[in-house]
Symmetry: D2
Subunit: 426 residues, 4 copies
């Protein structure tokens, strides 16, 4: 998701609210995330994979200015002509852009100007949406909002990384407590195989990489009723998981040694035991919550150690299809994966909490064609060297994910909220 396109193949209104309300809801969701942050918090880029909050706020705005306002609102006056260069992410077709790794060096415009930029564009957008062309533009607006939701999740990922670099371990938000369910040993849920339809069926919004819908052959399999937990991961560590080369992919073992991995990302070994750095600061590790911030290599090694495997993305989609796409997402305010309610007949926590690594390399579905125009640039261009994750996480906006949603990251990356769920052949 770190380099997320905004293309779509078929865009149909999900009908949950009016377009202008939808617009205002998503846009204000982004600025709400910045509340309580200082200008300093919003300008710094803590690693090449991440971006400053200010950049996210500007780039999502640039999307509407570039693809909606400029082509469709004749009276539109750009807020600042230099922003096109500064806030383009990777759309080659709309001109050159500022290098990704240097985003944190741009201190001017500051956050105040970026907020003014947002207001300027929002005002004009509402004017546009009140006009006759609104219906025609709906697909593109919806796309821009889905795109902005992706950046909302990135904002939280990037802030977590930034704050983790601060020796004072600042908290982004106070801890929100909740009633903790009893721990659940979990169980295996069986699924039949056969020829199944995979991919988005064309109703409601979806990104282009979720289609075309096509048949796939799936073999009978079992999926575990919940994600792997921190407590289970502790056993993996204790039993030498990070020191046993035969558990690892060759590239994974190289990463373990090059990076000095001994535990998931943001885990810290203290005298009194493991803690975890979170958006609420450093807290004791919760043994029954899903493990988070593990790379594909770690997820794969854990599964091998457990004598199981990761599910394919098709298996995951088969298991998820009938389930409501709800769970512990950004709206809960918990901002961390938590212990789930025990699941019986169907796998639990399929949506929210943690993105779940699948064993599927991110690739085009048969017949995939990128959308035309700059907007279509590209989910396709990231289709090498990455793996698919499914289901959304505690930082994903509600109503953003669905059973067919394909997220993807490089196998060495850990700063997203990624965990895993085990599978086995039936």
């Amino acid at each position: 998701m770190q380099q997320r396109s905004a293309a779509q193949s078929a865009i149909i209104d999900r009908g949950d609210d009016r377009l202008d309300e939808h617009f205002e809801r998503v846009r204000s969701g982004s600025t709400a995330l910045a509340q309580g942050l200082s200008p300093e918090d919003q300008v710094v880029q803590s690693m090449p994979d991440s971006s400053p909050v200010k950049w996210h706020l500007a780039h999502t705005t640039w999307f509407f200015e570039t693809f909606l306002l400029k082509p469709n609102l004749p009276s539109y006056e750009p807020f600042d002509s230099s922003f096109g260069y500064l806030f383009n992410s990777y759309y080659e077709a709309v001109g050159t852009r500022h290098p990704r790794a240097a985003r944190g060096l741009v201190t001017r415009p500051g956050i105040a100007e970026v907020m003014a930029y947002r207001e300027h564009v929002d005002t004009e957008m509402l004017r546009l949406l009140a006009g006759a062309a609104a219906d025609t533009l709906k697909p593109l607006v919806t796309l821009g909002l889905a795109h902005e939701e992706q950046h909302q999740e990135l904002i939280l990922m990037d802030l977590l990384h930034l704050f983790s670099c601060n020796p004072l371990a600042p908290a982004y938000r106070p801890v929100r407590t909740r009633l903790q369910p009893d721990p659940d040993a979990g169980r295996w849920i069986a699924f039949d195989g056969g020829i199944v339809g995979i991919g988005h069926d064309g109703k409601g919004f979806a990104f282009d990489n979720e289609g075309p819908r096509h048949d796939a052959l799936v073999r009978p399999f079992r999926l575990f009723s919940r994600p792997v937990t921190n407590g289970e991961w502790r056993i993996f560590i204790a039993e030498g998981g990070y020191r046993t080369p035969t558990l690892w992919l060759a590239d994974g073992w190289a990463a373990v040694n090059a990076q000095g991995w001994e535990a998931p990302g943001y885990w810290r070994q203290r005298d009194q035991g493991w803690t975890q750095f979170t958006l609420m600061g450093e807290v004791p590790l919760d043994d029954t919550a899903p493990v988070c911030h593990v790379s594909y290599y770690e997820a794969d090694a854990f599964a091998r150690w457990a004598g199981k495997r990761l599910p394919t993305e098709f298996e995951w989609e088969v298991a998820a299809r009938g389930l409501p796409a709800v769970g512990n997402m950004i709206g809960s305010g918990l901002l961390r994966p938590v212990t789930g309610e025990p699941a019986l007949d169907a796998p639990g926590q399929m949506f929210g909490d943690v993105w779940e690594w699948t064993s599927s390399a991110y690739a085009a579905y048969p017949g995939f064609r990128p959308a035309t125009g700059a907007v279509g640039e590209y989910n396709g261009k990231f289709m090498a060297n990455q793996f698919v994750l499914r289901g959304g996480c505690c930082a994903t906006p509600e109503r953003h994910v669905r059973a067919t949603y394909r997220n993807f990251f490089y196998p060495h990356q850990r700063w997203m909220f990624a965990g895993l769920r085990l599978a086995e052949d039936a």
Copy 2:
């Protein structure tokens, strides 16, 4: 293939010759490759991905000593106890090993001792094969020989790279001329879709990653009758292929810029036009021969530029299954891909000339389990970040490849003899 395991799931004699004759044929094939090479040629390692010829000759011998002689010939006396450390490639289960990138720093033992090592092991192996246990050991011996054939191809790849670093452009072998067929415009061959059996069926030798045989769903497709040629690649260059970011995967475009790629590997731009550095030295580029030494990124970009795509590995296997696995391989002595005879009803040059990139990420087949024991270490451990290539090349030993054979390389690598063939949806 640069880090190639030797595991297999089911090993059955292909019945073409007696085991001892098979052994002597393959083993002498390796030493034949070293003929005409100086000790200097055989000790140097020209990049981390490659190995010295001397190392290949010793490592393949170490395989027989370690997995056949030591466990099965009680009277066997190791040639030199230090060789176990020096010539282990990556088998973690049999102890520590010399770092891969430092193989070229070991000047002692020299090539003379390594040849004595080979003779020592060969003599003892023939003694072993004359004994009662020969039948039982046949699968493991056959595996060792297939493993050695892989290193024969690596020897040629690595020599080509080494000699390409020498400003004097030495030739490994003299040019062997041949009657050149007429150029062929080529044509599309159509294939039906459906549920097809993929993978090795258990008759004859195969590597473990070729199984288990399983059903796969393939859609109707067309495959071109021949690989893409040098002449076609020249047009791609002339039309700005290497300068057009929208043709490339994001990681591919980064590689183009980081490596300064402007043409396939070993191409050289001279005043009089393009030449190619080959095992016969620097020669004029042959426009009708298959393009070679292209990375996955380049193959993928070319296909996009051509408005086509790469085939999946399943499509390739469907197209190849009925064809004899013969072609321009090492035995032809040509040591380069050459223009093929026009193909009509079935795709031509499916075997030999160039390995063909597929769009399939290298992954385990459903139900895949690595072989047990050190020998089973691992095709599995390379199953991330690589892509599958099919069909063998001009440096592959005859009888080594088959329709189910899966080779794999990282998408940025170019020193193997890799080209491409176009596909499209039917």
Copy 3:
């Protein structure tokens, strides 16, 4: 100066103002530099050699808290106990510290808290200076103020670099115009040789590396009446200076090729000619002003190209000793080197405008001993691989430099205001 200690051997009041007035003058000079900067401008670190403005403001304050208040003011309550770790620069003796290259990742405390920290410490310091111990502490306070002046210059250097990374080319200050003197062809000023006293004579403040004063043997020499100008450097470029290996030190030639140097730092080639990025934004190059932002390697190559040489630091000191240490420094508000008035009997512009590279490797004077205690840590520890520069620059506080002052940088560095002056044997 980028890693500048604050040790001194002999500290005597220069008598120009009362200690508390001196304290307030220097301290308020630092905050004045931050005026007009946004919080964003003050938190970002644009390269490992530089530091955020916020860090400079905090670190100089930490010096007074750590070395003056904590040991000498019993009632002192630290502003924040974590600041000791965050704002220590490199004093090993006072505990661990935050890694230099990660200074830009600390967004909290923000600039508001750092300003409160300054006020807290200033208040307490004035209380301390009003007490009985003031006389005893005067040397250490003076040292702390000289140290802070060094960081004032660093603030300007680091801001220039930061703003140069911004594609919008922001200006830190508006251009202040001045009456431009007539261009000066310049002339050679001759100096006798002999045994001369070198180093600080013990009157007034000096850093420890300026002593002990000792005899040195200097041969007759000539020094040019002004620094090398931009216009002269343009000829060097035009005549292939950056493309002629025989003009360069071997390490310098390697730097030219590795860094792609084709002109001094901050020069930009535009359609209409060369410009220079300055603290006033991008401005046309001023041909008669001293060239600035050249590395030692470039200065040395230029001198060789000119058939001259750089002066030794002893020669420079001999030439400067009688002159008033005044010139175009920070107080002029010009913030850039400018054309000087023609000099006749004595070299002009010896102080201010640009630091002048000497050919002297930075080394200890005979008998040099670092000051004892943490404060004495260390000018000595930088005495390898750097070269001495003399005379101060347009970003140096008035009254900070003197004829014996030794600045030092690595030969590849360019972000300081460094130029050169030619010398030759008499």
Copy 4:
């Protein structure tokens, strides 16, 4: 010495033998070093700083072909026109050259051809030396021979490094035993200060960087009677020398941490104690022999730990001037530094055993001008970032060094035979 020029200012016959005899003696000395080496040993380059033996043998020959035969022997036919490119070291003025770090990739020409090249050039050189021009050419021939002697030492340094990379720890030569003198506690030898003449006086051969001879002011000092020993270094280690940052130059401490230094180069910690890898293989550490393979940073830290300092190169020269330039050099066949005889009135072991680090940055003497022409390229171009070493070592050819001889290396380098001797102010 790793990038050693061959320039000289004033060359006068040292009169020890006829020029043709001198030529034959030095030239056969090089080939004698290669005796017992395999072709493999001679082609591999084990790090960028080193070169293959084969390259040294060819490059020294190239010198005579390029600077003597081609300009002065009209009938001369070059052995192979491609060798000019391959075996030029760094003389920019005589054309492009093969990259230094790629010297080990050239397997052809092999060692047999290089030996034939040597014979060809030797034959022609003797023909040239028998002719009328011999007297005129004597300075240049003498220079070529001094240059070749430098490469003889490099051959031994580079072989030691190469063999140290081999896990089998091969020995270049068998251990030659000797009568071991009693250990010597050592003593301080005092020297007066004053104005002294430094540099070569013009009698006999010297490199250009040894002049011009000039006056220097030296203060009274004391020099220790012998170099620091391995036993003394063991105490430094035991007392935490490598773990105490305040003992180190800042760049040195960075090197300690980046390289993981815990002992001098080639020391190995075994269960039974420290050993040292030498040209005779791995041997127990000799406590009373001079410590060897220490960087400048280590030498400087040791001196600080001991409460002493390194001598300047002028002090060293003052102490050495009256002494015969003899000692444990290559002719002894020991090939390692050894315990010296106790010295009384004058420092012992000033020549041979180990090069001694001085505190002097390598710089031009006043009035230094490089020799004209390609041969004069350059001692001067290395005059930055390196430090001077004096006195020769166990791998230096006899009669090669003298009291004015200036060797130089980067402060982080350790593969040369470098140790140290302590000094203090009188």
